[in-house]
């Protein structure tokens, strides 16, 4: 922890990445995994780690070449200002669309489970404004909030999952290893897109005090989230069955609804999962707002990094309310992640590394 120097520690980056990756896709994951690999879907997050390592190397090879710089500073050095600003604009647009769709899915879920009579617009707007309040204080405040929320997110989750793990019907996972390798590979790629928040490292790495430990931070976050995803998929299959996981839009919530605590001590236990998840979405939206604002303020060389936060809110809000229904929101959310999720994880960083090497820009031994 550092005092107001705009830097974050390795531990804070690990926590930020874990919480950002623990987003809506976690709730959809058992469904996606079941559709790709059936009963053996639980192995997809582990296989997806291989893709995660590729993302890790493509991003860290680039960022380590320009220590202390974010994408906003090093992109113009590599490809010249005009193209760099186009790339940065695309990145900002991508983050805003992803954040908008994420918050829409959040609104749909809260509306479905907790606040059925509250207009979804109100849910979305309150979340955006609350997030803006945190983000305006900068990356340090966000990172410290992540450190606090970590306990509020994972303690309820561990309690609920413990009950499920003890009572679950593990025969649901049998027969083992019956899925063909192509389906596993394709499924693992789709699951690996849940690691998409690693792309924030293009900006966040430059804000780390010990940037040489970027790889370590990402590896720990990746392994942690892959384990969590595997446990969640196994619990969902064992709890509600593989076929039901395919049928449900929010299989993890269905799982939470299906469990019965001894003696009916706790009812409506899906709220526990929702609590965890709301906090983690809060951190994801914070990242979306902060990094978009950071791109804007650093591009226009503003001293304050939070200048763009309030102007961005209406844009994200507009993106969030654009889909007419849950069906449309779901289609956009999954489709956008599938088609555009990979761009800033591998292709663009690789092109930048290639050009940087050709032009001999940055630290060669980075």
């Amino acid at each position: 922890m550092f005092s107001h120097n705009g830097k974050v520690s390795v531990r804070q980056v690990e926590i930020l990445l874990i919480l950002q990756m623990f987003n809506t896709s976690i709730l959809l994951l058992p469904r996606i995994a079941a559709n790709h690999a059936g009963r053996n879907g639980y192995m997809l997050p582990i296989v997806a780690l291989a893709f995660g390592i590729i993302y890790l190397f493509s991003i860290t090879t680039l960022t380590n070449r320009f220590k202390g710089d974010t994408l906003v500073e090093f992109a113009p050095k590599i490809i010249g200002k005009p193209i760099a600003y186009c790339v940065l604009a695309l990145f900002a647009i991508k983050i805003m669309i992803t954040t908008g769709l994420e918050i829409r899915m959040f609104g749909e879920m809260v509306s479905q489970v907790m606040l059925p009579k509250t207009p979804i617009e109100v849910i979305i707007l309150i979340m955006l404004l609350t997030t803006a309040y945190l983000v305006k204080s900068g990356i340090e405040a966000t990172a410290r909030m992540a450190e606090i929320l970590l306990y509020f997110i994972f303690i309820p989750l561990v309690i609920v999952l413990t009950f499920i793990i003890v009572k679950a019907d593990y025969k649901q996972l049998m027969p083992f290893f019956e899925t063909d390798i192509v389906s596993v590979g394709k499924g693992a790629f789709v699951v690996s897109l849940s690691f998409m928040p690693i792309e924030f490292m293009l900006l966040l790495a430059g804000l780390m005090k010990k940037q040489e430990k970027t790889k370590q931070a990402i590896v720990i976050a990746l392994i942690t989230i892959a384990i969590i995803e595997t446990i969640i998929i196994i619990s969902t299959y064992a709890g509600i069955g593989v076929n039901e996981s395919k049928r449900q839009i929010w299989p993890v919530l269905t799982l939470m609804q299906s469990i019965q605590f001894p003696g009916s001590l706790i009812e409506n236990q899906e709220i526990l999962m929702m609590t965890s998840w709301v906090f983690s979405i809060y951190m994801y939206i914070s990242a979306g707002l902060y990094f978009t604002s950071l791109i804007g303020s650093r591009t226009f060389k503003f001293k304050r990094e939070n200048v763009f936060i309030l102007p961005i809110i209406p844009i994200i809000y507009f993106i969030a309310i654009l889909p007419k229904s849950l069906v449309e929101a779901y289609k956009y959310y999954v489709g956008f992640q599938y088609h555009f999720g990979i761009w800033f994880l591998v292709p663009i960083p690789l092109v930048l590394i290639f050009i940087a090497k050709m032009r001999k820009v940055g630290h060669v031994n980075g």
Binding site: P175, G241, N243, T254, Q257, S258, N268
Partner: protein
């Protein structure tokens, strides 16, 4: 500016109250049991969206009377019945008959009438409707009844006027023997129906005195009722699934009855080839005590020879009880014992040879053998 800030600070907490259209708990009707029947004679000449297919009875308890000093109060519940073309319209109608908002978040039991179970479309649609907008929890207990479910929930039950509470207490009591009824949660029912297409739900009935009995089961295949299973058949099903607990088994030993109490039971299904033909073996292991036997000087059971003989008797009886349900299941051609599912899980390669024809006849002729290991742990304090 200072005054403005102060005013703003005073107003802002209003935003933190969470909801502006709150309905207090005492303004809610917490539905504890739902009985769904098919309307006895729906007017089939009407278009589908106007046919009053569902007859639903909601048990609304008076929470005030049920709690505190008035826990023994009478008339603690109101039953409201509606006829409607869908579940949502039924709830809509019920709202017109009550001063409070109805809520299903604490529903304990869902009881389905016989005719409802026999109408595949209506049954499947009702389950779908209840789950689609998460109206009721999936951990609600599901039961079937002969006749009308609404009549059952409205009948006087001297033990507990609230049927939902009665059912919840019945199944939550872990000291209760698991002998003639297999508890079924809505989540599990759906999981079984989605996985294999076959499931059972416990049967609940009431006699003329209003005494409630839960035993036997309704057999469901592809969301359609197949038949009723009697309590002995359910006993066999529980044996195959390894779920028997605290159940007495009575055999004859040396011209007198002997009661053995099963304390714990396990079951394992495995497959092996015999003369080139695959067969299933169900290995049951039971642990328990001898709790009743009239012994005398020449009829003493406290010796190894007697224990061996009694073990053989018990073994045969348990195999007989298990075979009862296997025969029933194979005669119906409905694999509610999960033999096919077990084959798929344990021997997926063999399952490929059977999966297309299993329900079409292969299951009926599939050889299934039962073997039992009986452990007599205690004979009581008498010889």
């Amino acid at each position: 500016m200072g005054k403005f800030k102060g005013l703003l600070l005073l107003i802002l907490p209003l935003m933190l109250t969470g909801c502006w259209d709150s309905v207090e708990l005492n303004e809610r009707h917490v539905i504890l049991e739902i009985a769904i029947d098919k309307t006895p004679k729906p007017d089939l000449s009407k278009p589908i969206n106007e046919r009053q297919i569902y007859q639903i009875t909601y048990g609304i308890p008076d929470i005030g009377k049920l709690s505190g000093k008035d826990s023994l109060a009478e008339n603690v519940k109101t039953s409201l019945t509606t006829q409607s073309p869908s579940i949502a319209t039924s709830i809509d109608e019920i709202e017109t008959k009550t001063q409070n908002t109805v809520t299903f978040s604490h529903t304990k039991a869902l009881i389905l009438g016989e005719e409802m179970l026999k109408d595949k479309d209506a049954f499947q649609a009702a389950i779908d409707a209840l789950l689609r907008d998460m109206r009721i929890g999936r951990s609600v207990i599901v039961l079937a009844t002969k006749g009308l479910a609404g009549d059952l929930t409205q009948a006087d039950n001297p033990q507990n006027p609230i049927m939902g509470m009665y059912i919840m207490k019945y199944f939550n009591n872990k000291e209760r023997p698991v002998s003639y009824a297999k508890g079924q949660l809505l989540a599990n029912l759906i999981k079984e129906l989605e996985d294999t297409g076959v499931s059972t739900m416990p049967m609940i009935m009431s006699d003329k005195e209003g005494i409630i009995q839960i035993s036997g089961a309704a057999l469901i295949k592809d969301y359609a009722f197949v038949t009723w299973l009697d309590k002995n058949e359910v006993r066999g099903q529980l044996l195959v699934e390894g779920k028997i607990k605290h159940v007495p088994i009575v055999v004859t030993y040396k011209d007198h009855y002997l009661t053995y109490m099963i304390k714990d039971q396990k079951s394992k299904i495995h497959f092996k080839e015999n003369n080139g033909k695959l067969e299933a073996n169900i290995d049951l292991t039971v642990k328990g005590d001898i709790i009743e036997y009239l012994s005398s000087n020449n009829k003493n059971i406290f010796n190894e020879e007697s224990i061996t003989e009694i073990t053989q008797q018990l073994k045969q009886e348990i195999i007989r009880q298990t075979n009862l349900v296997i025969d029933k299941s194979q005669s119906l051609g409905v694999d509610f014992l999960g033999i096919g599912l077990e084959m798929y899980r344990k021997d997926p390669k063999q399952w490929k040879n059977y999966k297309d024809t299993w329900n079409e006849g292969d299951y009926k002729d599939f050889p299934i053998h039962v073997d039992t290991t009986v452990n007599i742990q205690n004979t009581g304090i008498l010889e």
